[in-house]
C-alpha cells in the first residue's frame, strides 16, 4: 500500500476518538457535546475503515456506513431534544440540567 501503514491511520483514529471524548466530558453546551460525539464516531469509523483495508474484507466498510446512518439518527433525536428545550427556554447547559443532580 502506498503511503503510511495502517498503524498511522489508527493513531489518527484514536486521537480523534479521545478528542471527542474530552469534548463530551468537558464541554457544557449540548450542541458541542453532540458535535464531539460525532468526532468520536468518526474516529471509530476511521479505525473500521483502516482495519477493513488491513484485512481486505468489506465488513468494516459496511459497519462504517451503518454507523453513519446511526449517527444521523442520534443527531436527529439530539437536535430535536435541544430544539424542544430551547423552545421551553431552558438553560442549555449539560452540567446544569437544573432539577437533575448527579
Amino acid at each position: 500500500m502506498a503511503g503510511p501503514g495502517i498503524p498511522a491511520y489508527l493513531g489518527v483514529a484514536v486521537f480523534l476518538f479521545v478528542t471527542g471524548a474530552f469534548g463530551v466530558l468537558l464541554r457544557r453546551s449540548p450542541l458541542i457535546v453532540l458535535l464531539s460525539l460525532e468526532i468520536m464516531l468518526n474516529g471509530a469509523n476511521l479505525a473500521l475503515i483502516a482495519f477493513s483495508r488491513h484485512w481486505g474484507n468489506g465488513d468494516g466498510q459496511i459497519f462504517a456506513i451503518s454507523v453513519m446512518a446511526v449517527a444521523a439518527a442520534e443527531v436527529v433525536v439530539g437536535l430535536g431534544l435541544i430544539v424542544a428545550m430551547a423552545r421551553k427556554k431552558l438553560n442549555l447547559d449539560v452540567d446544569e440540567l437544573s432539577s437533575l443532580k448527579g
Partner: protein, 195 residues
Amino acid sequence: MSLLAVTAVGNVLVWAVWVLAVATCIGTGLLVVTRTNPFHSALALIGNLGSLAVLYLLLSSEFVAAAQVLVYAGAVMVMFLFVIAYLGGKADAPWIGGRTWHQAASAVAGLAILVNVLVAIGMAAGGSLKHEAQLDQVFGSPSEIGRLFLTDHLLAFEVTSIVLLIAAVGGVVLGSHARRSEAEDAAALAAGEQV
C-alpha cells in the same frame, strides 16, 4: 485501487495528501471541541469530515468516502447548521464550570485510554498489523458494498433503516409544537417578551 498509488511519484503524492489530510483532521477535530461558538465548531466538523473522506479514499474505500461526504456533510451537517442558526449560535465558555474533580477524572481517564490504545496499536504494528491483505479489484467499490449489504449484512441493512425510521418518528415527536407551549408562547408575546 486509487490511481495515485501506482508510481513512486504517486507514492510521494500519497504521503503529501496523507499529511495534509491528517493535519486537517486533527486540527479541525481540536477546533470542534475547543471553540466557544457552536457555529464555528460545526464548520470545523465539516472540515474534519472532509479530511476523513480523503483518508477513506487513501484506504481504497471509495464508496464510504462518498457516503461520508453525502450523508455527513450533506445531510447531518445541514441539520446541525439549521439548528445552530435557529438557536442563534449561542456561545459558551469552553472549560469552565462543572466539578473540578470530575474534569480531572475525565482528563485522566481520557489520557489513559489514549495511551492504552496507542500502546496497543504500537505493539500490534510490529506484529499482527504488519502486513495488510492484498486487495481484489472490487474492494471498496459501490457494487461490492451493495453486494455485502444484500448478502452477508442483509439484516444490518434492514436494521439500519429501522433505526432511521425510529429517529424520524422521534424528530416528529420532539419537533411538534405542543398546544400548551403555544399557549405559553402567546402569553409571552402578550407580555411583550421576545420569543
